[in-house]
Symmetry: C2
Subunit: 129 residues, 2 copies
C-alpha cells in the first residue's frame, strides 16, 4: 500500500509548507515547514512537529516555550505541496515574538504596520536564553 507521505512532492530540500490555523478562532497562526519525519511524529504525538530550517532539525513546536500546538486535523492540498493543520494553541501564543500569531503585521499604505499586541515578553517565554 502506498504510504500517505508518498503523495507529497517534497521540495528540493525535502520539505513541504505547513499552515497552522487555530481551530477555535480560524486565525492563521504560522507558516512552517515539515520534512518527511515531521508528519509522522505529529500524528504519533498529537502535537505539531516542524522542521526548523534555521536549526536544521526537527522541532516540536513549543518544546522550549511550552506553547505546543495540539493537532485536531491534518489536510493536504490539491497538488499535495501544502499541509493545513487545525490546532489548539496552548498558551495562546504561537509566535516566538510573543504575539498570538506570526501574522501580526498588516500592509497599510505601503508599510507593514504592527496591529497585534505582544502578549508576553519573549525573554520571559524563553527564560533569557
Amino acid at each position: 500500500m502506498r504510504d500517505w507521505l508518498d503523495e507529497v512532492p517534497w521540495n528540493e530540500h525535502g520539505l513541504v509548507a505547513v499552515v497552522a490555523q487555530e481551530a477555535a478562532s480560524g486565525r492563521v497562526l504560522t507558516v512552517a515547514w515539515m520534512n518527511r519525519d515531521a508528519p509522522k511524529q505529529t500524528v504519533e504525538s498529537g502535537e505539531a512537529v516542524y522542521f526548523s530550517r534555521s536549526r536544521n532539525r526537527l522541532l516540536r513546536k513549543g518544546e522550549e516555550s511550552g506553547h505546543v500546538q495540539k493537532v485536531r486535523e491534518i489536510r493536504i492540498d490539491c497538488d499535495a505541496d501544502a499541509v493545513l493543520l487545525q490546532v489548539e494553541q496552548v498558551g495562546g501564543i504561537a509566535c516566538h515574538t510573543g504575539h498570538a500569531r506570526c501574522f501580526f503585521r498588516k500592509l497599510e499604505n505601503g508599510r507593514w504596520v504592527e496591529t497585534d499586541p505582544v502578549l508576553k515578553d519573549p525573554a520571559a517565554i524563553y527564560g533569557n536564553k
Copy 2:
C-alpha cells in the same frame, strides 16, 4: 525609504509562500507563491496575482476561470517569509479541481480522504482547455 518588499527574504527562486484565506468564512483556500512583482500587481489591481511555478510566469488568480480573489487585507509573518491574504473568492471556487478550497482532503487513519464536494466540473470551468 525602504520599500515594503525589501523586507521579504525571497527564497532561492525569488519566491515567498502565500496563504489565501476566505475573509468571510475563515477557510484557508490555497497556498500559492509570489515573486517580487506579484504583491505590487496585487495591490494595484486589488486582486490576487501569484507566480505560477508550473507555468513560470505571473498569473492573475482566476484569469481563465473567472474565479478571481478580491484582496481585502495583506499580512506578513514575523520573519517576513510568508504572506497571508484575506480574500473574497469570486464564484466560491478557489481550486482548479472545482472544489471550494484546495484543502479538500483530510488525513484519516493514514489515508487522505476527500471530504469536500466538487462544486463545478473543471471541464466546465476551463471550457475543456
